[in-house]
């Protein structure tokens, strides 16, 4: 466990110095705040949109970039040779990403002014969605040989997860597909507090299971050897 903790601390240190990643934790709540402030009564819609964009991009990119970078610069090789188990590496990494994500989610809560049951539901859906996004990022990071390749893989995934829920508000066909993504569920939970929470839970659990399967395939094929 000490190895996982060391990786967790290292990752938080690295995030604080990696502007391209740390900005992603700030920019989505920041934009939500700005748009809510400018648009007043439509604030919830802004939070919905940017929270959906946040879960569809930030945890995934943070993990994919880190794993790919550790692979590219052989840092992962030294960790493995120092006796770090793959699960310790991934646990430390995911925990740090989820912790950073929790801060962004807290900012969304403040901006959206969620209370009571709506707050609880938003918290649960956001946490599960961040986890799904992180698992996807882990799988992409394992598949990629370097950061550049990782960005080639995660960009289409990010586009789908970020924009499909937003565009689904204007197009029924897109809505039929987007409703099965975790980022859409985040958007929905903000916009429709009295919506079907159980259905949202089932869809996100399905997402996590599918992404976990994708991750296992990636790990089985490529492994984490650095």
């Amino acid at each position: 466990m000490s190895a996982a903790k060391a990786i967790f601390v290292r990752q938080l240190n690295d995030f604080s110095k990696n502007m391209s990643v740390s900005m992603m934790y700030i920019i989505w709540p920041g934009l939500a705040f700005l748009m809510s402030y400018l648009m007043g009564e439509y604030g919830a819609a802004q939070v919905a949109m940017f929270a959906g964009m946040f879960v569809g991009s930030t945890p995934m990119i943070a993990i994919a970039n880190t794993v790919a970078e550790d692979n590219e610069y052989k840092s992962l090789r030294f960790l493995v040779m120092a006796g770090v188990k793959p699960w310790q590496y991934l646990f430390g990494l995911t925990a740090s990403v989820l912790m950073m994500s929790a801060i962004s989610v807290a900012a969304f809560i403040l901006i959206g002014d969620f209370t009571g049951q709506h707050l609880t539901q938003f918290l649960i859906i956001s946490a599960m969605s961040c986890l799904a996004s992180a698992i996807l990022g882990g799988a992409i990071g394992i598949f990629a040989k370097n950061v550049q390749q990782a960005s080639v893989i995660y960009t289409p995934a990010m586009m789908l997860l970020m924009f499909a829920p937003m565009l689904s508000m204007f197009n029924e066909t897109i809505q039929r597909i987007a409703q099965f993504t975790f980022s859409y569920q985040v958007l929905q939970i903000v916009l429709t507090p009295d919506g079907d929470f159980t259905r949202a839970l089932i869809i996100i659990t399905g997402n996590i299971a599918a992404l976990l399967a994708f991750f296992i395939i990636a790990y089985h094929k490529k492994g984490l050897r650095g």
């Binding site: 903790k5 060391a6 601390v9 290292r10 240190n13 690295d14 052989k74 120092a82 050897r225």
Partner: protein
Amino acid sequence: MIQMTNIMKRFGDKTVLSDVNFHVEGGEIFGLIGPSGSGKTTIINILTGQFPPDSGKYQVGATSKQIGLMLEEDGLYSRLTTAENLNLFAGIYGVPKSKVQRALRNVGLGNDLKTPVAKLSKGMRQRLVLARAILHDPKILFLDEPTSALDPGTARGIHKLILSLRDQGATIFLTTHNMEEAVDLCDHVALLHQGKIVEHGSPKAICEKHNSYKTVPDLGSVFLKMTGVTVE
């Protein structure tokens, strides 16, 4: 402590190692000498478990946590400081943070605790990698060309450090192009040429055998005689 028996390794059609045999006693400095592409790094990669040999046996008398590594690629985190890089490994090995400062002082980076790795020179990076390798007082230390990018003064300091680690009981396996370094440091050396060990023994004994011991052992001449290649 370290043993290789009839090791063979191929990459595609190319045989990189062929019938490699050697034995390293505990508490000695063993030097593997050879030109670029002779298979030195492949031997270290096999011994550190990065890939298996095609045939033959090898044995390393230490667990992964008892091994210190200094390889060609440094694997450092360039955004983090020198101390943060070592703190990570201190956490992994479960050693106190006070050892981080000690390790950095030992390699002459005591004043650079808060310097980001991205701002270090190549030689300083190399010293940092050595600090990482010795952080947990390893039983066995694998050093792939430990002084190749260092100025003579720093290299001498590193030599002193390697000798003191040996005196404390560590077994050191190093590769080098530098014959003087091999003579000064190593208790035993093996000359590797085209994937085969063409000579092995103590530097002094090898030089005496090949009449290359005048006032000091001239291992470079032996190397040229045995391999016919230019020493880098």
